[in-house]
């Protein structure tokens, strides 16, 4: 079983729709949670990060963490064609094997297409 599971999609929605992207994880030591957006042929860029259960909003984006269920989500409101990208969840715990390098574990990514 992978530590982080993410539905690869692809997901296709009309412009203006609410998008829900999800990841589940098995390692209860994960404390920090991030969402990255990756456009085609580009490096991933950090969208949001959070380290507590509950919701965090940033404009049209809301990150939700449920540590009891080991489940995180990213909601996109009023989706736009410019939101078309691959979305990767990532998570880490404070220290790994004493190296304190903060290793990130990524989901496989969900391909999202928002059509006009």
């Amino acid at each position: 079983q992978k530590e982080v599971e993410q539905d690869p999609g692809p997901l296709s929605v009309p412009e203006g729709a609410i998008v829900s992207l999800n990841c589940t994880y098995s390692n209860s030591a994960f404390q920090y949670f991030m969402w990255y957006r990756q456009y085609s042929r580009k490096g991933p860029e950090l969208l949001m990060y959070t380290y507590s259960s509950g919701n965090k909003e940033d404009g049209r984006f809301t990150a939700q963490v449920d540590k009891s269920s080991k489940y995180i989500s990213l909601f996109i409101r009023d989706s736009q064609p410019s939101d078309s990208a691959t979305y990767l969840c990532a998570m880490s715990h404070p220290e790994t094997g004493g190296t304190s390098y903060g290793k990130l574990t990524f989901g496989q990514g969900t391909i999202l297409t928002v059509h006009p």
Partner: protein, 114 residues
């Protein structure tokens, strides 16, 4: 502000040829540095990480090596490329000891071995 530079953007190399990809970070000191490979299935595979000059850790055995000759320079190398080395290579950095902010990635190098 901090920036990360990675080059070249694309590279086509014959099997058996050497490889050198370079990554530099500006605007910070003592960063943690990482090399990732992203295959067609979109998953990110951690290849190497470094917490300081000359300190390299490998996550998976492979045909590649990494070096960190300076604080903000990270190099990915191979003596002889294999077809299976094709992929999208990403360099990333993070603040040492600050885990909750994740990594900042470079723009990537698309390597095709022919």
């Amino acid at each position: 502000s901090q920036t990360i530079h990675q080059w070249p953007a694309t590279l086509v190399q014959p099997v058996g040829s050497p490889l050198s990809l370079e990554c530099t970070v500006e605007g910070t000191s003592n960063p943690n540095l990482y090399w990732y490979r992203q295959a067609a299935g979109r998953g990110l595979q951690l290849l190497f990480y470094s917490v300081g000059i000359g300190q390299i850790s490998s996550e998976v055995p492979q045909n590649l090596s990494a070096s960190r000759p300076q604080d903000r320079q990270f190099i990915l190398s191979s003596k002889k490329l294999l077809l299976s080395d094709s992929g999208f290579y990403l360099c990333a950095w993070s603040v040492h000891g600050l885990y909750e902010r994740g990594y900042t990635f470079g723009s990537g190098t698309r390597l095709t071995v022919v």
